[in-house]
């Protein structure tokens, strides 16, 4: 039942809906600088401030750092993506 109804093409999903739906899930957060952070989304707010766990920092697709816990200030965030991707870069 988790994640059911997320793909309904007729339904709209506002940014607020999206934020509610992704807590606790693995995500990719890209900053304006181009740096990627991958990890488990612990919590977030309407400013796109984000707390992540098991965070991996990728610069130019290469793993540079790991953080157990990380806070990202929302103004730096370009996008938040659910991470169910097939591209296996930076393995």
């Amino acid at each position: 039942m988790s994640g059911a109804g997320e793909k309904g093409p007729a339904t709209t999903k506002t940014p607020a809906d999206f934020l509610k739906s992704i807590r606790g899930r693995p995500v990719v957060v890209k900053l304006n600088s181009g740096v990627d952070y991958r990890g488990i989304l612990a919590c977030l707010d309407g400013y796109m401030n984000i707390a992540m766990e098991q965070t991996e920092e990728y610069v130019n697709g290469q793993l540079k750092n790991k953080y157990g816990d990380a806070f990202i200030r929302g103004n730096n965030v370009l996008y938040i993506s659910t991470s169910k991707r097939t591209l296996g870069e930076g393995a």
Partner: protein, 88 residues
């Protein structure tokens, strides 16, 4: 007064009509995205699905596929309904 004039269409109403269809987002700087629009808010933060991200770098174009994203509206420059890809 002119709210029932059909020739008056707010920009946000135009975007609203794009929900469920492909849209091409051109960002400030050398970045573009194409995806299916799921929703947006007053800041034009957007929820996009089945996204292709194009980053124009000095070594060429880097393409990233993303499942579902919340795109920050802060750096959005242009929205093109229909979503024709950057290459023809």
């Amino acid at each position: 007064m002119s709210s029932n004039n059909p020739s008056q269409l707010l920009p946000s109403e135009l975007i609203d009509r794009c929900i469920g269809s492909k849209i091409w987002v051109i960002m400030k700087g050398d970045k573009e995205l194409v995806g299916t629009l799921r929703g947006f808010d007053v800041y034009v933060n957007m929820v996009l699905e089945d996204v292709t991200e194009y980053e124009i770098t000095s070594e060429g174009r880097r393409i990233t596929k993303l499942d579902q994203i919340l795109l920050n509206g802060n750096n959005i420059a242009i929205l093109v309904p229909g979503g024709s890809p950057p290459d023809e």
